[in-house]
Symmetry: C2
């Protein structure tokens, strides 16, 4: 198999992530939005990826990864997440800074460099945002079942396990609130405006759209 372009890798990665939590097909619009590209561009790339048997593409219906397309996506994701963790662990970057760097680096690191980073990091299973890192065999590691903060029972105490956003401003906000991966908090109440929580030092009402990005270990 010939090497894929960075753009092709990005499309496959996006298709994977858009379909990760469902079995439905991914639409052209979704891809266009996420990749910040016009729908017409998506269509033309989808035709190419289909010709390479990396996706199953039904015009007007949507797209799904084939097994080999999924492997490519997982490989890129492994690079991305190892890089993010490496940058935080060895170069003192904050979790809010590493996504942008990783977006570029993920396409240019060799398998050898991937392997060395994994080794130095002790073959980690999760990146600084709590996202699972595909194994060297390109399987997603078993993650404990997580529950969204919006669905965490009142009075339950738990630990933040994952934050599903790469938005710098949002992550910066969480930094200032000391709401990082591993932090323990208690849900005081679920309210129409969001989730009222108690941390070691403070009480906050976390607005719905913020809370929806925060995941706790399931009870």
């Amino acid at each position: 198999m010939q090497p894929l372009s960075e753009s092709q890798e990005d499309y496959l990665k996006s298709i994977f992530q858009l379909s990760e939590n469902s079995t439905r097909l991914v639409s052209a619009m979704e891809l266009a939005d996420r990749m910040d590209v016009k729908p017409a561009s998506v269509t033309s790339m989808l035709k190419k990826l289909a010709k390479l048997s990396l996706i199953d593409y039904t015009p007007y219906q949507g797209v799904a990864l084939t097994p080999s397309g999924k492997l490519v996506a997982l490989e890129v994701l492994r690079h991305h997440r190892l890089i993010e963790l490496f940058l935080t662990e060895f170069l003192d970057f904050g979790w809010e800074e590493v996504h942008e760097q990783a977006e570029k680096l993920e396409h240019v690191i060799s398998e050898e460099l991937e392997a060395r980073m994994a080794e130095k990091l002790g073959h980690p299973t999760h990146d600084p945002h709590g996202d699972p890192i595909p194994t060297v065999d390109l399987e997603l590691p078993e993650s404990p079942l997580l529950a969204n903060l919006l669905r965490t029972a009142e009075n339950h105490t738990g630990v933040i396990k994952r934050v599903t956003s790469q938005d710098r401003d949002f992550l910066n906000l969480l930094n200032r609130l000391e709401l990082n991966i591993g932090v323990e908090l208690r849900v005081i109440s679920q309210e129409r405006g969001g989730v009222r929580i108690q941390t070691a030092t403070d009480q906050f009402l976390i607005p719905v759209d913020m809370a929806s990005k925060i995941w706790m270990e399931a009870e």
Copy 2:
């Protein structure tokens, strides 16, 4: 100034390196050879770089960097050499492995990542091959005067300070001969076939084309 493409950066870096040890202009052929591209492609890129005021280009004569073109070249070179050193120091790569990785990474690391690597490395002045690393102000550090092994006096004892080749096979050969940066050797004799040297453990006749890549601190 808008961001340059990887290709443009590569051209500027090559022009810099081809003209580093002389004041003469760089020819299109030289560039085509070094960049593994046809001369016609060089011409068309030179026109673009000239329009951006990154080079002074006289058709049929050759090309030289302008001050701003030189800054770009030094920036890329700084990235390249910091990356090489980082890979050897922190990820256990050999000096023969790092050039290829750095060729790709040099174009995609942020200024922030450059700064963190420099800091972790203690603001180094030379890379694993003994090549000088441009400072953060984009000036080449003062290097002690070096003498080519071919021009090192018989019976002189000195230390290998620089190897001006990135060829994997050549560097691998030097590894097996234990002829690395910092190794002390004595020149037994300059011969028509090369340089006969004495290391801690062995005697070798280093062929001319190998010796010409090896540099010793000047006497």
